[in-house]
């Protein structure tokens, strides 16, 4: 194939990392978060980031390290309780936190990556989550209109990738990764192993390679 290879090293990501950018990160309490890419973001020194993901892990693991290092301006997440530093900075007014119900967060990212303007969900009706949102009623049920979310960069963790970028995730490390692969302008994946195109059975691919821009082997920090 003459198409440019998607293989790169963590350091090759550097030109893509910019102050003020929005970053979606796979992972649920750091399981499924690309830890080497997080290290690269720390090393790059970029700041004023908007980060979008399920949670902010802990101050010393995964995406939580960006919070602790004060690189983050805004967090969009469903849960921040495991990272005391996120809560402290929020209460001190140092960062903005938008809390989104987990299922709604998944749908908003999916919409952002699927060309959908949003979804109608009953989740959050009658709670503070509905504040400021369009509501529609059908057949006596009220729904919130929840809008799509996109980011400049998605950083994902896969177990196996092939050279075309086809991905397979392992167990609970899948979580938000396949959704975010659709929803960012540049998609960077850290994989435990990278195999030749065709070595992953086509029925078992979880993220099609055309969605992936950069493939980095986990060990190559």
């Amino acid at each position: 194939m003459s198409a440019p290879s998607k293989r790169m090293t963590h350091a090759d990501l550097r030109p893509k990392l910019k102050d003020g950018m929005s970053i979606m990160f796979g992972g649920f309490l750091a399981v499924g978060t690309p830890l080497g890419i997080v290290q690269e973001i720390l090393d790059a020194g970029i700041k004023d980031l908007t980060i979008i993901g399920n949670d902010t892990a802990t101050p010393d693991i995964g995406i939580g390290r960006l919070i602790a290092a004060r690189r983050v301006k805004k967090v969009i997440a469903s849960h921040i309780g495991t990272n005391a530093e996120t809560g402290r900075q929020m209460i001190a007014g140092e960062i903005e936190v938008e809390l989104v119900p987990q299922g709604t967060l998944a749908e908003r990212i999916r919409c952002g990556g699927s060309g959908l303007g949003g979804v109608l969900t009953p989740t959050g009706v009658g709670t503070i989550v509905e504040e400021g949102k369009t509501k529609l009623s059908f057949d006596g049920v009220e729904y919130l209109v929840e809008r799509g979310l996109r980011a400049d960069l998605a950083i994902l963790k896969a177990h196996i990738a092939d050279e075309k970028g086809n991905l397979v995730y392992r167990r609970a490390a899948r979580n938000f990764n396949p959704l975010m692969a659709l929803a960012a302008d540049f998609v960077a994946v850290e994989a435990d192993s990278i195999v030749a195109a065709g070595e992953i059975e086509p029925d078992l691919v979880m993220t099609p390679g055309v969605l992936v821009d950069a493939l980095i082997l986990s060990g190559e920090c």
């Binding site: 649920f28 299922g103 969900t121 989740t123 009658g126 503070i128 979880m206």
Partner: protein
């Protein structure tokens, strides 16, 4: 039996063979220990699988529960992404969710995800679970540490969902919502109706069939 075990044992009786169940962190995780041997449930973990089991032997990589703790899985487990996880939850494919509560009220409202200005961990998957599960069972101690009522006329804390709670289990009592009315259906062993009344702010009716909980020894 201490309060948490009693509550877990009582909630276990609500689950039927074949049920798909999502258990919140803390007290609800004790529930499987109290299931009769002929009741098999499938545990849904909102971080992306059906078939969660207890950890047996060495942890497997990337096999963790929604609290991030290593866990096990049963034969026939299925993993999926977060959109599918919540399609299952929101779409009514979970028979029961059991969660803790800060406050519950007589309208079936639940508050369990934040205390303004004090504790704002976020709702995680709780809002979707409470909105989508067929049964929403709140498993909590009857009163606050200061002895204040948690079963109220109207929740004061920000809600997790409005009007979705189907039952409440505490160490003193079991309540069920019947046609929108909070009904006391069982008392814990040795607990009087007067004690429950005194420790409950909500309006409720006592079921004509109200009886003492039937718990394992």
């Amino acid at each position: 039996m201490d309060a948490k075990k009693l509550i877990a044992a009582r909630v276990a009786q609500e689950l039927k063979d074949g049920d798909v169940v999502n258990l919140g962190i803390g007290l609800p995780t004790l529930i499987p220990d109290y299931l009769p041997t002929d009741v098999h449930i499938t545990l849904q973990s909102e971080n992306g699988f059906l078939g969660m089991g207890p950890l047996e032997g060495e942890p497997l990589p990337d096999l963790v529960n929604a609290g991030g703790k290593a866990c096990g899985m049963v034969p026939g487990t299925a993993f999926f992404d977060s959109a599918m996880s919540f399609a299952i939850i929101r779409g009514g494919h979970v028979d029961a969710t059991v969660l803790g509560g800060l406050q519950v009220d007589q309208e079936g409202n639940l508050a369990n995800w934040m205390v303004p200005g004090k504790m704002i961990p976020g709702m995680g998957g709780a809002m979707d679970l409470v909105t989508g599960a067929k049964q929403v069972i709140v498993a909590m101690e009857h009163a606050t540490k200061d002895g204040g009522a948690k079963i109220l006329k109207r929740c004061e804390l920000p809600l997790t969902a409005a009007g979705k709670v189907t039952a409440i289990a505490t160490e003193l009592a079991f309540f069920r919502f019947v046609d929108g009315q909070l009904v006391l259906t069982e008392t814990a062993p040795g607990v009087s109706l007067d004690e429950i009344r005194a420790k409950t702010e909500a309006d409720y009716v006592v079921s004509p069939e109200c009886r003492e909980m039937c718990l394992p020894a």
